[in-house]
């Protein structure tokens, strides 16, 4: 199983970050406003902020560390995107409209090079669903650890396993994300995990044509049962929006997942680096409801 986890851990995406001109002094070189980086699927975009600030620091029109009147966030096609989801999860959701990821030139070559295109912007106030990118270096670490606390509670019914980690282990855990140390990550995440979980930490995201995400976090009990995705279809799909299983593909870690897959198997193999299993519902082109409602 660790082979699958290692493949996921090593998975990377090409990310093209463009910086809004409002960040830069007039006359700054144009190339400074674009960054092409390879980013692991299993990390946060915000972990690349030090690299971004470092690249543009000599050309900034203000000091982002001291200016408390300005907020920063990422956008894709002018739609705000949250940094607090794994990069791969963001990509899976946005990839529903895959044409937006490729340039016309790239479409002409045989092996299409896919880029996740994001734009770093700023404003005096924030989009309502976005956690601002802070100057604090510990922002992502704190958020991520809080996610793992939730995961620990969902799996085990208490936070004891994560709260029992020593300070060194907690540091090593986050350090493994930053330094991409798979062995350390597995060693510590296994201390929090359970082979007989009470519930599965699951987050469902659905992309809508408006460009927004619909997020849900159903509670799936595992006590005495081992359901397939089909068994919990009602929890995964939003019945209020009239979506049925024939209208959507289930995507997890960039892979299409069959409905007969066991939830626990899926969780243990494909969970993300924050301990949650993210399922993305992608409309099937030509599906009855998919085109009109998602």
């Amino acid at each position: 199983m660790n082979d699958i986890k290692q493949l996921l851990w090593n998975g990377e995406l090409n990310v093209l970050v463009s910086i809004d001109p409002s960040f830069l002094m007039k006359g700054s070189p144009r190339e400074i406003a674009v960054l092409r980086i390879r980013v692991p699927r299993e990390t946060y975009l915000v972990n690349y902020m030090p690299l971004i600030w470092n690249k543009i620091k000599s050309f900034l029109s203000f000091d982002p560390l001291t200016d408390s009147e300005k907020y920063f966030w990422f956008e894709h096609n002018k739609t705000p995107i949250p940094w607090n989801y794994p990069v791969g999860v963001l990509f899976d959701c946005l990839a529903g409209k895959s044409a937006t990821f490729t340039t016309s030139f790239e479409n002409q070559v045989k092996d299409v090079l896919t880029f996740l295109r994001i734009h770093l912007v700023m404003g005096d106030s924030l989009p309502p669903t976005i956690i601002p990118i802070a100057s604090s270096k510990t922002q992502a670490e704190k958020f991520w650890f809080h996610q793992w606390k939730q995961v620990c509670f969902i799996l085990n019914g208490s936070s004891k396993a994560i709260m029992s980690l020593s300070v060194n282990e907690a540091r090593k855990f986050w350090g493994s994300v930053i330094t991409r140390n798979f062995q350390d990550f597995i060693e510590i995440s296994n201390k929090i995990s359970s082979s007989r979980p009470r519930h599965i930490p699951l987050i469902i995201q659905t992309s809508r044509t408006s460009g927004t995400f619909r997020i849900s976090q159903p509670t799936i009990s595992m006590t005495g049962v081992n359901p397939t995705l089909k068994d919990i279809e009602g929890d995964i799909l939003d019945v209020k929006e009239g979506i049925n299983g024939n209208d959507v593909m289930v995507i997890c870690q960039g892979i299409e997942i069959p409905w007969h897959m066991l939830l626990y198997d899926l969780y243990s193999k494909l969970r993300s680096f924050d301990g949650f299993l993210y399922i993305t519902l992608v409309p099937i082109k030509g599906g009855d409801k998919a085109s009109s409602e998602l």
């Binding site: 408390s68 924030l126 309502p128 669903t129 100057s135 809080h146 509670f153 997020i215």
Partner: protein, 167 residues
């Protein structure tokens, strides 16, 4: 830990008791059954106003508290937003404040852990949440005192740092 139905019924009792309506700081109380929560709009305490001026160099307008339920932890969950008062071109307005060190601003360092989060049940809006994982240790969850669980939680998670005086 408090089961959801028990929490729901205790929230209704708390609302009916007028404890929030009679609170000197409270400007508005709204019980939102659909969203499983109670929204409070508060005027800032003097101490909070001073902290905001000192740390952020801003003027507080009001505080929003949202008392809801965490189905992950099976505990009451307290959400918070603070709004600053601004004037742009002479037009007064309020603006959401998201200070990095919210714990210092509220003067709750070492007592509570807060973090920014997007809340699924509230259209994904951004709130500070008081992390609820230690709640039962803080409040005490012995079965014989279950009927006052939420009242004790409110005393600790809200009144202990904002103070309570009748209006």
């Amino acid at each position: 830990m408090i089961p959801y139905q028990e929490w729901h019924s205790q929230l209704q009792s708390l609302y009916d008791s007028q404890i929030f309506h009679n609170w000197a700081l409270c400007q508005d109380v709204h019980l939102n059954d659909e969203k499983d929560g109670l929204l409070l709009r508060l005027i800032p305490t003097r101490q909070l106003q001073k902290n905001t001026e000192r740390i952020e160099n801003k003027l507080l307008n009001h505080i929003e508290l949202y008392l809801t339920y965490s189905k992950v932890y099976n505990e009451p969950l307290l959400l918070l937003r603070i709004w600053e008062e601004k004037s742009i071109d002479g037009i007064p307005m309020t603006k959401l404040m998201l200070p990095t060190d919210i714990e210092s601003l509220l003067d709750v360092q070492g007592k509570f852990q807060l973090g920014l989060d997007t809340i699924i049940n509230l259209e994904g809006s951004v709130w500070y949440s008081f992390h609820p994982c230690d709640t039962s240790c803080i409040v005490g969850d012995q079965a014989e005192f279950m009927s006052t669980y939420l009242r004790r939680w409110v005393s600790i998670f809200i009144f202990s740092w904002l103070g309570y005086e009748d209006s």
